[in-house]
């Protein structure tokens, strides 16, 4: 369960990126966060994975108040999250296997456990035959599947995706959406920031709309 109470965020004094936001997202929900550029979508996601702190208000994830969390406990919070970006953020000097294995290595998992889980996850995204490739040897769609695999490999409680299909063509978008829906079916709460109305129409779920940092709409399909 994600609870957001009266959250505001201002990067400068005169410009609020988010204002007085109140939201409840139950465990296992699938939520689109939409709105025009500069609406505050990315800021909201950054607050959720604690890359930013709110200027006001409280955010609770599974009962834990992350706004009061000490810096050294943030890694622990992120280990239960999967984060996917529009620009993939893969390590281009590392192989696909190494990229996907990274979150498990961070958690200190044993090598055989890492290998097994990475292989399973790459199979899930259909890239088990590209283990030793480097990211730049893959297409954009494949790179994003690797980024999703890196997010899914830890069986995240919360999967956060910021415009994950923004640079991809429609067929690849379908593939990626399939992966998010699969993760949601396995129990992950999914928060997906997007501009793509066609995607929302095609896979209807709860839609939260932001404008100028304010919640303007929150509707179920």
């Amino acid at each position: 369960m994600i609870q957001i109470y009266n959250v505001s965020k201002a990067y400068r004094k005169d410009a609020a990126a988010l204002s007085e936001l109140n939201l409840k997202i139950p465990k296992g929900d699938f939520v689109y966060i939409t709105g025009p550029s500069g609406a505050g979508k990315s800021t909201l996601l950054k607050l959720l994975y604690a890359a930013e702190k709110p200027s006001r208000g409280q955010i609770l994830i599974n009962g834990q108040n992350i706004t009061r969390m000490r810096g050294r406990r943030i890694p622990e919070l992120r280990r239960h999250m999967g984060i996917v970006f529009q620009d993939f953020k893969l390590l281009n000097s590392r192989t696909i296997f190494e990229n996907v294995a990274f979150p498990l290595e961070v958690q200190g998992k044993k090598r055989f456990e890492v290998s097994k889980k990475v292989f399973q996850t790459l199979k899930l995204v259909g890239l088990e035959h590209k283990l030793q490739s480097l990211p730049l040897e893959l297409s954009g769609g494949e790179q994003q599947r690797v980024a999703v695999a890196r997010a899914l490999v830890v069986d995240p409680l919360v999967l956060i995706a910021d415009e994950p299909t923004g640079n991809l063509d429609p067929d690849v978008t379908l593939d990626i959406m399939g992966l998010f829906r699969g993760a949601n079916a396995r129990g992950s709460t999914v928060l997906l920031a997007t501009h793509d109305r066609e995607m929302i129409r095609r896979f209807p779920r709860r839609v939260i709309t932001l404008e100028n940092g304010r919640l303007v709409d929150d509707r179920m399909p």
Binding site: Y49, A51, G71, R72, I74, P75, E76, L77, R78, R79, M81, I83, K89, L90, L91, S93, R94, F102, P103, E105, V106, Q107, G108, R150, V154
Partner: protein, 297 residues
């Protein structure tokens, strides 16, 4: 232990994968340390030269009368018993006369008909290295006067004062320039490492996003910094030895030989160890400084 092996493996893999950046960091450390090594070679050798010069700090005590064998032995023993004294040489009037004659060279004829007894007997007293300075000389002179009863004592006060101010200047200059070079090396190396780490900021960001702790992110970079520093240190030792043999040896040799000193030396083993440690320190400290700014988990 397993974790440490993992960190070392990751550090080595990082170095392999970013070979160019890694070489730049090693090269910068090596150049910075070579400059310091060069400076140290000059300072150590000039110090050796001044140590040789300091042997000339000598006290001569003249005797009113030529002592008999027993008195001579007593005086000799008393002087040698002083803690500051390294050696004592007794010069008879005849020996002094003969030295004087030698020194006059072609004008030795001037001494014809002169009795050697006009020159006094004397003790030439050499001091231990620690006391070859103004204070040491003063202590010994006072002791010779009070404890041994010798009153006619000579030493090169003016020369000693000049020598002392030269040594003091050398030490101060060495410390100031050495400190400046070390600080410059630290600045250059830490900025180079910062650049190499800045080029890998995506990696640092991804690590932090997948839940890596600050220690997990920093440790391989610190190990990498230490390895780069050590390699830079080794390169500096080898490089400065080659340059020393090619360029410095001859110029320093001519300077030192002209002043009658022995062969010049490369850095002693202990200093080479120090240079290696300085490399490791520069790498570690440089990494730590830049990581503090780049890693904010």
């Amino acid at each position: 232990m397993e974790r440490l092996i993992y960190f070392i493996r990751r550090a080595l893999r990082n170095m392999r994968q970013c070979l160019f950046l890694c070489s730049v960091a090693i090269g910068t450390t090596a150049v910075a340390l070579t400059i310091i090594a060069f400076f140290a070679i000059v300072v150590l050798n000039v110090q050796q030269l001044t140590a040789d010069w300091s042997r000339q700090v000598e006290i001569v005590a003249y005797l009113d009368t030529v002592p008999d064998a027993r008195t001579l032995q007593g005086l000799h023993g008393k002087i040698l018993a002083l803690p500051e004294v390294e050696s004592v040489d007794y010069t008879t009037p005849e020996q002094a006369f003969s030295q004087f004659r030698k020194r006059l060279g072609n004008d030795a004829d001037l001494l014809s008909g002169v009795d050697p007894d006009i020159l006094p007997a004397s003790f030439e007293i050499a001091l231990k290295p620690l006391f070859r300075n103004q204070a040491g000389v003063d202590t010994v002179v006072t002791r010779l006067q009070k404890e041994v009863g010798l009153n006619d004592i000579k030493f090169g006060r003016e020369w000693l004062e000049k020598f002392e101010s030269f040594v003091a200047l050398l030490k101060l200059g060495g410390a100031v320039i050495g400190g400046f070079l070390l600080f410059a090396a630290l600045f250059i190396v830490s900025n180079t490492i910062r650049l190499t780490q800045y080029a890998r900021r995506d990696e640092l960001e991804v690590m932090s996003l997948v839940g890596a702790t600050s220690m997990f992110i920093k440790t391989p970079f610190l190990i990498e910094g230490a390895i780069q520093g050590a390699l830079g240190g080794i390169a500096a030792i080898v490089g400065s030895f080659v340059l020393f043999r090619l360029f410095l040896y001859e110029s320093l040799s001519s300077l030192l030989l002209a002043s009658g000193s022995g062969a010049i030396a490369f850095l002693p083993l202990s200093f080479q160890g120090l240079l290696l440690s300085a490399g490791v320190f520069l790498g570690l400290f440089g990494s730590l400084m830049s990581l503090r700014k780049l890693v904010r988990v």
